[in-house]
Every structure is written in structure tokens, then in C-alpha cells.
Symmetry: C2
Subunit: 138 residues, 2 copies
């Protein structure tokens, strides 16, 4: 499956259309399909994007771990793909998803953007929905 | 004004909290405050973010032109800041804005994410609201 991803071919033209950066990655914005909430910002490699389309769930490239990251593989908080969009410069993606469990952030919050700038300070604006220790407990 | 931005100081702690990448930039997601539409993905330098806060309108760093880019400086399509949010890893920003003129994209569309993946092809899903030649005509 993944061995065919980097082969040029008729069916891969949509992957060729993406402008990958010097690390072979593209920034991805993940938005809740129903609420419109911007959940997170992550990165995809060519293989990650191809798998995202194939499996209809978000597969990112983890820059910290330097490997494919099937969102929800540990937490169960998978992101089911509803729509994949490309921007005008072909260098950013927007995926609109169904967020399983209603929690996108590893801190146990709905979204990763939970700090708001207020009077020159980052103030935590969103509550923790579920204790991360319970999310990641095996 | 901008000369003070790179000086360490009590009031700049919120800028220090952002994890700037090796180019000194951070990815920024821009969302329409009223509709929730994700308009664009762009980049900010430390100075751009400081000016964005100061002027309450989106100021980006243009990677192609390698200079500060006051969104709307030519088109008039400014983005008025309603909210600035930072993510859990401190390496991405979400700004929620009022989009002046209702057009964020240089192609004359509401948003830059106007191509949707359908059956292995990028299909243009959004109409042009205003001819770009009329937008950028002096």
C-alpha cells in the first residue's frame, strides 16, 4: 500500500499538486465539521495525506516523534474525514472532521487552541473535559 | 515602536511564549469570527504578531516577499482582530477576525481553501466574488 505512494502515477496527481515544504511536509488545519471549531494544527507528509484519504481518518506526521501518527491510535479520539480542502497556493490543507469523543487535544480539551491573549497574557479559556491520565491509560 | 519588539521586557513575555520555528515564524490560522469559515493559513514573525496585537488587524510575514504584510494594504480586505489564540504546543496561532469586504483570498474568493478533494481530484468548490483585477486595480 504505502510502497506505491511515492511512485508517480495517474492516480497520484492530486498528491503532486501539493507544495511540500523542504521537510516534505504541509501544514494542516483540522476543523470540526459540525461546530466549525478549529481543533488543531498539525502536519502531513505525502504518505500521511495519502493514508488520510485512503482510510478516511486523519493521519499526521509527528515532527517530534518523526513518524506517522494515526490520530486517536492511543486515545481513541480519531478524526473521521468529511472533507479535504487545498488552499490557493497549494501549500496548506484544511480537513473537516468528525471528532470522536469530542476531544482533539492531548490535554483533554475539545481543541488545542485553548489559550486566549488577554491584556498581554495567555489566559486558559477552555476547560479540561477528560483527565489526560485517563485518556492515555492503557 | 517596532524597535522595542525584539527587546526583552516585562510586556513581551507573551511573545516569548510562542515557539518560533527556525525561520523565526509561526503558522497562523485565520478564521471568520462570525461564520466560523477558515479563511486562510499564513505566517507571522515576532514583529508581525506584535503589530497584529497593537494594531488589532492581521499583519503577516510574507515568505515570498520576505517582508511584513499588512493584510488588505492593497485590496482593502483587512482582517480586524477579535481574538488571538495559542495552541497547546505554543507553535501555532489561531486568529478570529472580521473579514472586511468578505473576501480573504487574492483570487477574489471568500476563503483560500476553495478546492475540495473529490474522487482523487482537486475540484474548485467556491465562486469568485470579485474579479482580482478589480480588487488590485489602483
Amino acid at each position: 500500500m504505502s510502497s506505491s505512494i511515492n511512485q508517480p502515477g495517474e492516480n497520484q496527481a492530486w498528491l503532486d499538486a501539493v507544495k511540500w515544504n523542504s521537510d516534505g511536509l504541509v501544514p494542516v488545519i483540522t476543523q470540526d465539521f459540525e461546530t466549525g471549531t478549529v481543533l488543531t494544527q498539525a502536519w502531513m507528509s505525502r504518505e500521511a495525506l495519502s493514508l488520510t484519504q485512503e482510510e478516511a481518518r486523519a493521519v499526521y506526521w509527528s515532527r517530534s516523534r518523526q513518524k506517522l501518527w494515526r490520530k486517536g491510535e492511543e486515545s481513541g479520539h480519531q478524526q473521521i474525514i468529511k472533507e479535504i480542502l487545498l488552499d490557493c497556493d497549494s501549500d496548506a490543507l484544511l480537513i473537516r472532521v468528525e471528532q470522536i469523543g469530542g476531544i482533539a487535544c492531548h490535554t483533554g480539551r475539545v481543541r488545542c487552541f485553548y489559550r486566549r491573549l488577554e491584556n498581554g497574557q495567555w489566559v486558559t479559556s477552555d476547560p479540561v473535559i477528560k483527565d489526560p491520565e485517563k485518556i492515555y491509560k492503557k
